[in-house]
Amino acid sequence: MIRRWCLFLLLALAPIAMAAVDTYEFETDAQRERFYQLSNELRCPKCQNQNIADSNAPIAMDLRREVHRMLTEGKDNDQIIDFMVSRYGDFVRYKPALTPATVVLWFAPAALLLGGVIVLIVLLRRRQRALRESAAQHLSQDEQRRLQSLLEREEDN
């Protein structure tokens, strides 16, 4: 019985958990599209792990209202993002700009991956060579010749 009531409560409360919905009017569909794009890219300063489109915090509502206002005033996306960054810092951008401070953020993963691949290649090459050499010592001349031709065929492919 209790379980059924819990389920009922969960279902009854489910709509509350849905994303915030405002009623904003736009002159064009393109503007509406940009509004959704911007409010998805801007991070809510209060709730940290939500963008301002998803958040119901009062500050997120204010920021959505500001985005709407600037869109209807004909500001472009860069101007709107600059407006937010000058007040709340780079924190509000889910896509941080490429600046000297964020170079590491942008390129460190790629650099680490590249470094890993290089190390892997070097290790594999070295092991292959070691295997080849140790194998070579235990084979007769005839076997070695066959092995060599097999290996070359492999490399040609």
Partner: protein, 188 residues
């Protein structure tokens, strides 16, 4: 050691560990608090306090502008009656005001009648109180939750920002020394 380069990952790991521990300790010493990830660095440090033209909270008070905040170093405290933490902070502000610290208030997204009632009830530590019912000034200040306290110098440049309840410890370790330095005409 046959392959010294095998130690490189270990050395890198230890260096990182040292860096993290050092940062952790620095933060602890500096703020006398554990690191609080909900505190954002303000984008407005060393920027001028934004322009505004808003009514005062007091009944029949004058329209206030940025020029009214100039002339002396001061705290600008963003508060509201709906903000529970502001009530905790309020007695501390009263105490500071009694010591002669200049405090201006920004009544953020609040009902002005409630704000007047609050000031009557709990004593008014503010030299001036700006009524920001729409939250426009708050937005220009990058406010994301009250209470927030800014430190401005005599020219109206924002020197420091503290998010959260100003208590005696915060005053002694963070705001107080910087305020004193501004009073003595030094750079903090």
């Amino acid at each position: 050691m046959r392959r010294p380069w095998m130690l490189i990952p270990l050395v890198l790991f230890l260096l990182l560990l040292a860096l993290f521990l050092k940062t952790l300790n620095d933060k602890k010493n500096q703020q006398d608090l554990a690191i609080d990830p909900s505190t954002l660095p303000s984008a407005l440090i060393d920027k001028p306090f934004p322009e505004f033209s808003l009514a005062a909270v007091e009944e029949g008070g004058p329209t206030l502008t940025r020029a009214d905040l100039l002339g002396r170093p001061a705290l600008v405290n963003v508060w509201a009656t709906w903000c529970v933490a502001c009530r905790v902070e309020h007695p501390v502000l009263n105490g500071l005001s009694d010591q002669g610290v200049v405090i201006y208030g920004v009544n953020y997204k609040d009902n002005t009648a409630d704000a007047r009632q609050w000031l009557k009830e709990f004593h008014d530590p503010y030299q001036l109180n700006i009524s920001d019912t729409e939250g426009r000034l708050g937005l220009d200040l990058g406010v994301y939750g009250a209470p927030e306290t800014f430190l401005i110098d005599a020219e109206g440049i924002i020197r420091y920002k503290f998010v959260g309840v100003v208590d005696e410890r915060v005053w002694e370790t963070q705001l107080g020394p910087r305020y004193q330095a501004l009073l003595e005409g030094e750079q903090p």
